[in-house]
């Protein structure tokens, strides 16, 4: 039987959650025995090569590209997991959510104290920024949530092993934290 595939991506995140995946240390060798990595910044595979069992999503949706990537993950992964506070609730980027978009752009690109000859970027190459940052489960269906900033390596490991082996997840009190 071919190994199940796993894909990962970072949307509006800081790559801290990916660092936490690497933080499982030598268990990453065991993970490589259990799964094959598909599209992911870890191996730099840019496009899906086929149906994946698990997709790990870091970061929420702050622009049109994030939405597109998230939808392609939903299409190509059987089980989608929001990993970390940004994917779950928007995280730090969503601190702009109470403020109108125009005010945010003006502050960043026109009125900021270090801005000289400011201009709001509008190159057609750039993904369009959304009116606010959206948690992933408000854009597509998400199957599981692993909270933390970043989620503890043990939480990611325990959850993945449980999914891949069909065993119930062992989630001790200490590993579920929101920071």
């Amino acid at each position: 039987m071919p190994k199940p595939k796993i894909a990962t991506c970072s949307l509006a995140g800081c790559f801290g959650c990916h660092m936490s995946v690497l933080d499982i240390d030598e268990r990453i060798l065991k993970l490589a025995e259990l799964v094959e990595f598909d599209k992911s910044p870890i191996n730099d595979i840019k496009n899906f090569t086929g149906e994946c069992l698990v997709g790990l999503i870091e970061g929420g949706c702050c622009n049109s590209e994030n939405v597109e990537v998230l939808r392609s993950f939903r299409k190509n992964c059987k089980i989608l997991i929001s990993v970390g506070e940004c994917a779950i609730m928007g995280g730090l980027p969503s601190m702009r959510n109470g403020i109108p978009l125009k005010e945010c752009l003006d502050e960043a690109y026109l009125n900021g104290p270090s801005v000289v000859d400011g201009q709001i970027p509008n190159d057609p190459e750039l993904p369009l920024i959304l009116d606010r940052v959206y948690p992933c489960h408000e854009v597509v269906k998400i199957d599981y949530f692993l909270p933390g900033c970043p989620p503890r390596a043990d939480l990611i490991w325990n959850a993945l092993v449980a999914l891949l082996t069909g065993q119930p997840a062992d989630l001790p009190y200490e590993v579920i934290k929101y920071d």
Partner: protein, 235 residues
């Protein structure tokens, strides 16, 4: 006639003094009933409903309902815990709770209840409201983003500190805690040692220059769930 009342809670035979609320009587017997707006020494108001139990088959707030003899109480059941989970999730969704950067993270009662009740993500859409920060005082600030309107600070100011310096303004979903001066906190007699400052269960009332002193892993609720002190009889 004895001054003790007998009751059961999740089948456990218990006994408590007359005049205790269900919440206090349970604690006397080493049973923790999750709660948020209740605080020892303050008059209970029964506003958050996290402490909802079933007394003789009917839902009631444990902090404001007096214990009666022979009561059959349900507390740690799937139905009640899911109801509590919903309340906690609503509180997360209606405010702006950025735990990763919050001064109170690790020792926050709202967060600790979410941990205890195994909340991985709220079922409700986040509202991302625009809320105000009162940072006018030199050593204390109130961050409305994290206030859960429990009223503990307002009650503590009036009942324990004897100062009417905090109150609620607005109605319904718009109700907010405010210092009773047009100049905000800077205009009232408040100091870091006041009970009203210590009463806040979350990261809304914060004493400046005191945050992030305890390393992650050693904070109040990092390894020990909220309520463990009651359950081990140490509360």
């Amino acid at each position: 006639m004895s001054d003790k009342l007998g009751f059961t809670i999740d089948g456990k035979e218990c006994e408590a003094d007359k005049g205790r609320s269900i919440l206090e009587a349970a604690a006397d017997n080493g049973v923790y009933i999750p709660h948020l707006c209740f605080m020892k020494k303050l008059r209970p108001v029964g506003s958050c409903r996290v402490c909802t139990i079933k007394a003789n088959g009917r839902n009631a707030a444990a902090c404001t309902t007096p214990l009666a003899d022979g009561m059959v109480i349900e507390n740690n059941t799937d139905e009640l815990n899911d109801l509590r989970r919903a309340i906690i999730e609503m509180l997360f969704a209606e405010g702006n709770h950025f735990c990763p950067s919050c001064e109170r993270s690790g020792s926050c009662e709202l967060q600790a209840l979410a941990y205890r009740l195994n909340i991985m993500a709220p079922r409700f859409p986040y509202m991302f409201p625009l809320r105000k920060l009162d940072a006018t005082h030199k050593s204390i600030f109130i961050d409305g983003n994290r206030c859960i309107q429990c009223g503990r600070c307002v009650r503590a100011a009036s009942e324990l500190d004897g100062k009417e310096i905090l109150g609620f303004i607005g109605r319904g979903g718009k109700v907010r805690v405010k210092a009773s001066s047009t100049r905000g906190l800077a205009g009232v007699d408040i100091s870091p040692n006041d009970e009203c400052v210590k009463a806040c269960p979350v990261g809304s009332i914060i004493v400046k220059e005191t945050a992030y002193r305890v390393p992650i892993g050693q904070r109040q609720y990092d390894a020990t769930p909220i309520g463990a002190d009651v359950e081990s009889g140490k509360a």
